[in-house]
Amino acid sequence: MDSIIEFVISLLKPLGVTEPVFQFMLVSAILGLSIYLTLYTGMFSLANAGFMAIGAYFGVAATQFWGWPLWAGLIVGMLAAALIAIPIGLPVLRLKDIYLAIATIGFGEVVNVVILNFDDVVAAIMTALQGERVRFRLIEGARGIKNIPRLTETQYLIFFLIAVGFLITRLHRSRFGRSMAAIREDERAAANMGINVTYVKNIVFILSAMLAAAAGVFSAHLTRIITPDAYGFDRAVDILSFAVLGGTSTWLGPIVGGMTLTALPETLRAVNQYRGVFTGAVLLAVILFLPGGLVDPAGARNTLRRIRSHFRRATDSTRTP
């Protein structure tokens, strides 16, 4: 396994990808799958960054405060996200499209505010209860948690991705997976087919939250420091752009999108401060010329056909006098 990873990284070296970069690419791939699940079901949710924060903080609580191993932190983080996703999803998933997006952005902001003020609020409550001033510092608000053990290994990430990819392919062929697609295509018709739309949407929202949380746990044990501003609106938009770049017609799309967008700043080191401009240009080019994303079998066929017919027309017009 180690030698395979070394080989892959040596191939990516010319693109500026080192092992740490590769690890973050894999984390992005997990985040891509997280938003893929909701988009595949027709839900425009931007809650992923918030659930990533929940995963990171609960995961770190398990590993750093309680001294548990990474896999236990992973389970704690994912379970916490799942439990929080239930009361959030039930009211919020009644909304659609842009309204759902706004509500889920709001959720992300709430998570941020809770993290920022958690210590102060606990201190205030304890002060009120005990009648004397109590100091309380646990998650350190905006300063963040430091010195997290670097437990995440490349092979864990790869194994996790393979497992999730396998589960998603099975999901797609199942009755539940078909319901997801039906809801995306036409929610009312799906309900008239006997599909419990509320149930399917909430389960998918929970699964998506768990994947985002897993990415949060893994990345926290790579960066070794977590601060709430790493999981704000910017992050939510980044995750969305993984799906936009890669496309959502297959689950490989957001993986490719996430890995590409994470590698791109490293690859573009040569152009230094214009990196953002290039990343934006790449994203724009994909939206204009490959509206289905980088990984879109049907779209690629269409584009090829269009190019071919364009050339045919060009040669035809030269023949006609």
Partner: protein
């Protein structure tokens, strides 16, 4: 089989359905006609659970359904088609029919993940039945084509096949022949009659009087949200109130359409 008693549906100040009572007996094809805007589709929406009446009751096979969610109503055995076709456009015809059989499936997520024998057997059974339905409705050529790419007539028939795939006891058809030529309309009528002979009860909204005469045992006429007439197709054809609703007050002999 289906009973509506004093169903009223108001949207703000607009009364779309006003004290509508009607009954659809088991094993019969009942037509619902009326001018545009009379409230026909609103009525179908009340029955299929997409919308709920402001007052009044709907019961199906003796059970009240006017507050039930659409998926529960579907599970009780009511299926429908739509005035503007609502297929799962990007999915193949076959997949549309697999989703239509959602209620018949028992498959759990776990079974699918473990690829269990029961899961595979069920998928095979659903696939087989979907192909039978494609065959029955002359759609075999479209098995793997995305539904949205099919010709209009095929889409209409696929929507009917998808409704049948749910194995309903009551079928609601909302203008099934809209946009069809006379040949296609007649062929669709044959399908509806065959389904009735197999024991299905049908409530059909239609404008095409030839089709109504071909398939309906009885007709209700809806105008401005109220039932203004009820009877056999021949009764209705000569009913002066119906003629007035469609054509205004001038006398006419050539039918209600």
């Amino acid at each position: 089989m289906l009973e509506l008693s004093h169903v009223t549906r108001q949207f703000g100040g607009l009364t779309a359905l006003n004290d509508v009572s009607l009954s659809v007996p088991t094993g019969r094809v009942v037509g619902l006609i009326g001018p545009n805007g009379a409230g026909k589709t609103t009525l179908i929406n009340q029955i299929s659970g997409l919308d709920h009446p402001t007052s009044g009751g709907i019961s199906f096979a003796g059970q009240p359904i006017h507050r039930a969610s659409p998926h529960l109503i579907a599970r009780m055995g009511i299926a429908r088609t739509y005035q503007n076709i609502r297929l799962f456009g990007q999915m193949s015809a076959l997949q549309n029919l697999l989703i239509g059989q959602h209620i018949q499936g028992r498959g759990s997520l776990l079974g699918a993940i473990l690829f269990s024998a029961a899961y595979r057997a069920e998928e095979k059974r659903l696939d087989l039945r979907a192909r039978e339905l494609l065959d029955r409705f002359d759609l075999s050529h479209a098995t793997d084509s995305p539904a949205a790419s099919l010709p209009y007539g095929d889409q209409r028939r696929l929507e009917l096949a998808r409704a049948i795939a749910t194995q309903p006891r009551l079928l609601l058809l909302d203008e099934p022949t809209a946009g069809m030529n006379p040949n296609e309309t007649h062929a669709l009528g044959e399908h509806v009659l065959a389904l009735r002979d197999e024991g299905l009860t049908v409530l059909v909204i239609e404008h095409d009087m030839t089709f109504i005469h071909q398939v309906c045992d009885e007709i209700y006429v809806l105008n401005f949200g109220q039932i203004i007439a009820h009877g056999t197709p021949d009764d209705i054809k000569n009913n002066p109130q119906v003629i007035e609703a469609y054509l205004g007050q001038e006398d006419s002999n050539d039918g209600a359409a």
